[in-house]
Assembly symmetry: C2
Homo-oligomer: 249 residues x 2
Amino acid sequence: MRYPFLKTFSFALILLVCCHCKNPEPETSTKEEPPSPAKELQPNRYNVAFLIMDGVYNTEFTAPYDIFQHTQYRDSIKAMNTFTVANTRHPVTSFEGSRFLPDFDYTQDSIPPIDIFVVPSAEHHLDTDLEDEVMLSFVKKVDQNALYITSHCDGAFVLAKAGLLDSVVSTTFPSDIEKYRKMFPKLAVKDSVLFVHDGKYITSAGGAKSFEAALYLCETLYGKRIAESLAKGLVIDWDIETVPHLVIQ
Amino acid sequence: MRYPFLKTFSFALILLVCCHCKNPEPETSTKEEPPSPAKELQPNRYNVAFLIMDGVYNTEFTAPYDIFQHTQYRDSIKAMNTFTVANTRHPVTSFEGSRFLPDFDYTQDSIPPIDIFVVPSAEHHLDTDLEDEVMLSFVKKVDQNALYITSHCDGAFVLAKAGLLDSVVSTTFPSDIEKYRKMFPKLAVKDSVLFVHDGKYITSAGGAKSFEAALYLCETLYGKRIAESLAKGLVIDWDIETVPHLVIQ
C-alpha cells in the first residue's frame, strides 16, 4: 500500500468519530459516589471514632467530639484524630433534624484502627437499632482492639446488646435506667452517677453531662492540667471530685 | 395523501432518533443545585434560625439547637421550628471538622420570618467574618423584626459589629472579654456572668454554658416547669437562681 498511514489514519478517524458520536455513559457511577471523601488522619494520634446514624442526638455526638477534637490545640500530648463512622457516607439526619456528612462508611470503607470508640445515643437505640446486625458486628469488631469504648445516654443499650458490658458495671440515661435493667437483667447497673468507668468501658448518663465523661477520659490520658484547659475552652469548671461517678479499677 | 399517519409516524420516528442520538445535556445544572432542600416549617410555632458558617463551633450551635428543638415534644406550648441559615446550602465545616448541611441560604433562598435568631460563635468572628458585609446586612435585616436575638461566645462580636448592641449591656466568651471591650469601647460590657438579657438581646458566655442561656429563654417564654423538663431531657439540673446572669428589664 502506497500510503499505509492512510489506513491507520482512516481507522483512527472512524474510531474518533464513533467515540464522539457515542452517547456518553450515563453518570450513574458519579451519582452513586458518596458526597464526602474519607477524612485524612494525622499520624501519632489516638484515633477516636464516633458511631453516628439517623436519629443520633446532636449533643451526645458533639459534646465528647468537641472535648476530644480540641486536644489538637494542646501542646506536648498525643492528641486525638476525631472522625465519624456510619453505614453510609451520605448525610445522616440527627434526632433534632441536623444533617451531618459522615467521614467513613463502615460497610464499605477501609476504617482506620480505632483506639477510642464513642457511641452517642440515637432515637432507636432501644428498639430497631438493636436489630441492626451489621452495626452490632461492627461494634464487636471495634471492641477487639480499641483501648476505650464509651457510650453516652442510650448508647449503652448498643454496647450491652453487642455483649460488651457483660462483665462490667455500666450506666445509661437516667430516665431509661429501669428499661435498661429490664432489657439486660444480667448486667450490673449503677444509677445516680454521671458515668461509670469499668475496665476499658466508660458509660455515661449522656445529655449535657457527656462533656464530663469525655473530660474524665482526657484527665486519665493527659492529666488534670490538660483536662482543666479543655474544660475552660468550653466554659466548664472542671473538678472530677465534684462529679458523681464510679471508677472500678 | 393516502396514508397521512405515515408522515406523522415518519416525523415522530425522525424526532425520536434525533433525540436518542443527541448527546444528553451535560448535567451541570443538576450538579450546581444545592444538595439540600429548604426545610419545611410547621405553622403556629416560633421560627428559630441559627446562623452557621465555616468555622462554627459545634457545641455553641447544637446546645441551644437541642433545647429549642426539643420544645416540639412538649404539650400545650407554642413550640419552636429550628433551622439553620448560611451563605450556602452546600456543606458548612465546623471548627471541629464536622460537616453540616444548612437548611437555608440567606443569599439566595426566601427565608421564613425569623422570631428568634441565634448566633453561635465561629472561628473567625474576631477577624474576617466581621468584614463580611453580606452577612452583617443579613443580621441587621433579621434584627428589624425578630423578637429575640441571641449570641453564644464570640457570636457577640458579630452582633456588636452589626451595631445591634449599642444601647444594651452584653457579654461574650470569658477569655475574649478584654478583646471585646477593646474592639467595641463604647459598649456596656458585663463579665463574670453566664449570660446577659437586655431588651431583646441575650448574649451568652457560650461553650457548654450555651444550654443555660437557651433554657433561660425557654423559661421566659414557657415558664419554669417546661424549662425544667427540657433541662431534664439533657441531664441538666435547672434552677435559674443558681446561674450567674444579668437581666436588665
